[in-house]
């Protein structure tokens, strides 16, 4: 493991309370660098972007971890690294206790049965020339589980609330919400333990989104799948998650149970993020104190020294530029990566 990090401790990462049971998936100190290259003919490396920087978390059977952050925070890259659709630069990913970062492609393919993914765009993630039945059965055919294929596909379509008679139809005949259900049926075909859900409802209208969110919850209750729910919508994440990790510029800045994060956020970024979301209730909106952050997210190619959030933080002091705050419990009962972590219960109301 190449060490890029100066973070002092390399102990097993701290996790929020309530994680006594054996986790299904353990991600430890995950790092992903992308090279920045220039030149047309002769490609030359001129630097690198650390898209994911020392990220650790665990997924538990039947539970949902929400991974939130804005564009460029590294949440999607984290999800893709877990599936090794991106090769992690360093760090460890253990599925049921087994290290998967050093598996061969063939071995990895076997593990992928258990680790499936649903993408954001229900229009781009389904092959328009395949019928719904062949889309949903493709994973089964790849993994040679073809006995009783037809019945299995019907059962999957019923599971996601689609009429099995629609199996012969093509993706363009379905609405966005129905397409997302097809994508979910495909992801469930191999009976996975872990689903990576990358913005699964953000392309949908709210009235349709609610149905897909409910479906995901029902499926989890029935099948006990662990979810990594990646999203930028903090309201959806609150609704669906048991635990939440907040990312900023490649790092987890705060990690706790849902109530930790939403009721007593302790990192200034989490507080700003929550206070920036308008609530669909004018009576609440009128009384809210808003934290409006200055400026934009810095380029991940040149992240600020010390704490990456300090350039936009109203609490920043000299130490923030020199010393990177570790993600540890600072008396709030859950890990926070801020030297000046302080509970603020009024971020939302």
């Amino acid at each position: 493991m190449t060490v890029h990090e100066t973070t002092a401790e390399k102990e097993p990462a701290s996790t929020p309370p309530g994680d006594e049971v054996e986790p299904v998936l353990v991600v430890d100190h995950l790092v992903k660098n992308f090279d920045i290259r220039v030149g047309e003919l002769i490609r030359r490396k001129i630097g690198s972007v650390q898209a994911v920087s020392d990220v650790s978390f665990q997924l538990h059977k039947g539970k949902t971890l929400g991974l939130v952050g804005e564009s460029g925070s590294g949440k999607t890259t984290t999800g893709l690294c877990v599936l090794r659709l991106h090769e992690p630069t360093s760090g460890s990913i253990r599925y049921r206790g087994r290290e998967i970062t050093d598996l061969s492609r063939r071995e990895m393919r076997r593990i992928r049965r258990s680790l499936q993914v649903v993408f954001q765009d229900p229009y781009a993630s389904l092959d328009p020339r395949m019928s719904v039945a062949s889309i949903v059965s493709e994973p089964l055919r790849i993994h040679k589980q073809t006995t009783g294929l037809r019945d299995h596909v019907d059962e999957l379509l019923r599971l996601v609330g689609l009429n099995p008679d629609y199996g012969n139809r093509f993706p363009h005949e379905f609405s966005g919400g129905q397409r997302q259900r097809i994508g979910i049926a495909r992801a469930l075909a191999l009976d996975p333990d872990v689903l990576i859900l990358d913005e699964p409802v953000s392309a949908l209208d709210v009235s349709i989104q609610a149905g897909v969110v409910n479906l995901l919850e029902e499926i989890q209750d029935r099948l006990g799948v662990a979810y990594l729910f990646i999203a930028h919508d903090l309201s959806v994440v609150r609704h669906i998650s048991d635990a939440v990790a907040v990312m900023y510029l490649g790092k987890i800045v705060e990690h706790g149970t849902r109530d930790d994060i939403y009721n007593k956020p302790a990192h200034p970024y989490t507080q700003a993020l929550l206070s920036a979301v308008p609530v669909p209730d004018p009576r609440l909106e009128r009384g809210r104190q808003r934290i409006v952050l200055e400026g934009d997210v810095p380029s991940p190619a040149h992240p600020p020294s010390g704490c990456r959030f300090r350039t936009r933080c109203w609490k920043a002091q000299d130490i923030c530029a020199t010393e990177e705050p570790a993600l540890i419990d600072r008396g709030q009962g859950h890990p926070v990566a801020c030297h000046f972590a302080g509970e603020q219960s009024s971020a939302i109301v």
């Binding site: 804005e70 564009s71 609405s175 919400g177 129905q178 209208d205 709210v206 009235s207 349709i208 989104q209 609610a210 149905g211 969110v213 409910n214 930028h232 919508d233 903090l234 309201s235 959806v236 609150r238 609704h239 669906i240 849902r258 109530d259 939403y262 700003a272 993020l273 929550l274 206070s275 920036a276 979301v277 308008p278 609530v279 669909p280 209730d281 004018p282 009576r283 609440l284 909106e285 808003r290 409006v292 952050l293 400026g295 934009d296 997210v297 939302i348 109301v349």
Partner: protein, 327 residues
């Protein structure tokens, strides 16, 4: 309050190979001086097309009917040249995607100055100075240096603020903002909403805010019009819409929203999906998806009507009975 804009019975039909799409079907609303009107609806509800028609920005072969009056003057059916007198000076627009609405090969300052030169008799130097000042107004740091840069040197949030600067350069009476923050991250959205608030406060500009985001509406709007299938189905001041909704669609929208302020919510989706606008449903357009539908809903149509709650109107036959079921 002075009524600036009055839209009456607006209809928009697009002729397509698949048939005529009835995108807007008899929409009426007014915008008063200094107020923010929120128009909320989902994809395909006709909210953007309504405002494009109001601004005279639809393709020529589109069939537009009804009436759009600005300070009493009819805008529909005018020659493009005459419309241009209003557009940009009296009525200005900000679109969702600031990258495609700014010209990539011209400096930002020049584009803002140009908008001013098109409507006012000022020197280029004065227009440039005004552009710099407006960039400052919308909260762009180092506005003098920024005016001299190209759009690609701006971040998404800064581009959107530059668009707002361009829209207000002629001190318009009404600023129409179509999903102005949808492409932005939430902390950047907060900055842009703050900027719009400031514009409204300092210039007393009326704002028409088109969005699918009920949170943004509740944060920004004074009054709300809820659109479904090319029609306005409910209007009222924001508390009417969010606290005592009287149309099943509005109630459905609110019940399907996950909440940031509480963990214990049950989401109730609206069943079915939005209708085809080539063949809109008969009667009430929402009846196929309505939890409260009755026998006559598929045949009888009702327009927005007074429901005995002041300025609150609803296009539901059973609006009064909904007080029992609204949350």
């Amino acid at each position: 309050m002075t009524e600036l804009l009055a839209v009456e019975d607006l209809t928009v039909d697009f002729l397509t190979p698949d048939g005529t799409v009835h995108a807007v079907r008899g929409v009426s609303f007014t915008v008063a001086a200094g107020e923010t009107l929120g128009i909320v609806g989902e994809s395909g509800s006709g909210k953007s097309v309504t405002m494009l028609a109001t601004m005279g920005l639809l393709p020529r072969k589109t069939r537009v009917g009804g009436s759009v009056r600005f300070r009493g003057e009819e805008l529909l059916g005018r020659k493009p040249k005459e419309i241009r007198r209003f557009r940009g000076s009296k009525l200005a627009m900000v679109f969702q995607d600031p990258m495609t609405s700014l010209n990539p090969v011209h400096k930002v300052g020049k584009q803002i100055a140009e908008a001013m030169l098109a409507h006012q008799d000022v020197s280029k130097r004065a227009a440039w100075a005004q552009a710099v000042e407006l960039l400052d107004t919308v909260g762009i740091p180092a506005p003098g240096r920024r005016a001299d840069q190209y759009p690609h040197e701006f971040s998404g949030g800064m581009r959107q603020r530059a668009m707002i600067a361009m829209a207000i350069v002629n001190d318009p009476d009404i600023l129409i903002a179509d999903e102005p923050t949808t492409a932005l991250d939430v902390t950047i959205q907060a900055q842009v909403l703050e900027t719009l608030d400031k514009v409204k406060r300092e210039l007393n500009t009326s704002i028409v805010l088109i969005t699918h985001d009920l949170g943004v509406i509740s944060r920004m709007a004074d009054r709300v019009a809820v659109m479904y299938a090319g029609e306005i189905v409910e209007t009222g001041v924001i508390d009417d819409i969010f606290v005592t909704p009287r149309h099943p669609y509005t109630i459905g929208l609110l019940n399907s929203l996950p909440r940031l302020d509480t963990s214990n919510t049950t989401l109730t989706p609206i069943t079915g999906s939005p209708p085809s606008m080539v063949h809109p449903p008969s009667g009430c357009p929402f009846h196929p998806r309505c939890f409260f539908r009755r026998e006559n809903c598929s045949t009888d149509k009702t327009n927005l009507r007074d429901i005995g709650l002041g300025a609150h109107t609803s296009a539901c036959h059973y609006a009064e009975a909904l007080s029992e079921v609204a949350r």
